[in-house]
Every structure is written in C-alpha cells, then in structure tokens.
Symmetry: C2
Subunit: 93 residues, 2 copies
C-alpha cells in the first residue's frame, strides 16, 4: 500500500500544513457479519499513552475520529506535535 502517496495527498489538502503531526490509524477489516473489536476504545487510550511516553502531548493537541462502514472500522488519532519537540527534542534514528 502506497502510504507516502496517501499521506502526501492528505498533507497538501490539510489546513494543518504548517504543523508537524503524528497521525495514527487503526483499521479493522473484518469479513461478513462479524462484530467490531470490543477493545478499540481502550486501544485508543493506550496508543495515546504510548505516544506520551516519548512526546509531551496536551489533550487539546489530539483529535479522535472513528469511521465505520460494513466490514470496516477505522480509528484515527491526529496528534499535533508541540513546538518544543519539533525544535529540539527530536533526535535522528
């Protein structure tokens, strides 16, 4: 899957072009009439907790979004990274 193409298109169309962001998506693709995953709401909180181990992220910098359709559920965490992390707190890897 060409994520670079997808996220580049999104970046261009976004009003947040000037921001540095971390965009986390969790997509659950299921077959037929199966139910959604009961743990997705908790997963959302835990993913954010993991990110917060490494980056200081205030609540107002996080947007949650859930999209659902038959056989597909997508959870999105859109995190705007703080200035401090962008300037000094981010090391090469």
């Amino acid at each position: 899957m060409d994520w670079l193409k997808i996220f580049r298109a999104e970046k261009k169309s976004s009003a947040q072009t000037a921001k540095e962001r971390l965009l986390i998506t969790v997509a659950h693709q299921r077959q037929g009439e199966g139910n959604g995953l009961h743990f997705l709401p908790r997963l959302r909180e835990e993913l954010l907790a993991v990110v917060r181990k490494y980056v200081q992220v205030p609540d107002e910098a996080v947007q949650f979004n859930v999209q659902r359709d038959e056989g597909l559920e997508v959870l999105e965490l859109n995190i705007t990274l703080p200035e401090k992390e962008r300037r000094g707190g981010v090391a090469s890897h």
Copy 2:
C-alpha cells in the same frame, strides 16, 4: 480524510481479502529539514504489545513495513487476526 475509501480500495486489491486484519499506521509528517522521530522503532514494539493485551497474535501474523520520503515517514503494522478471535473472542462494542 476518507479512511473508509482508502481501506476499502486496499482490501479489494489485497491478496489477503479472506483474512480478518488489523492494520495500524503511524505517519509522521514533519516540516522542512527536520529529523525523523527517534522513538518510532520502540513505538512499533509498544503498539504491538498493546494489541497483544487483547488479541493473541503470533509473530508470523505480523508484518512490519516502513516507508520514508522527504518530510514523511510511515510505519505500518499489518496484523492478521487469529481464527479463534474472529469466531468467538470478539464482542460487540
């Protein structure tokens, strides 16, 4: 961002159509010449650990993929969910 459209297209084109999957992506969009996030490799392991709290996922069911381009880095975890979870271990939410 229309994730349903993106993941539906991916599902159709995937050879794994018959599988139930959890697809996690972490996209880091940065500005200008900034470095990548040093914690992405650790984040990968921690995200998988969080998922494993809820679903039994053997190592062979997990595929990692990283895509990089100027100003953009995308980490992908492609997890094929086990039959057991799909049949009985997944509750509605």
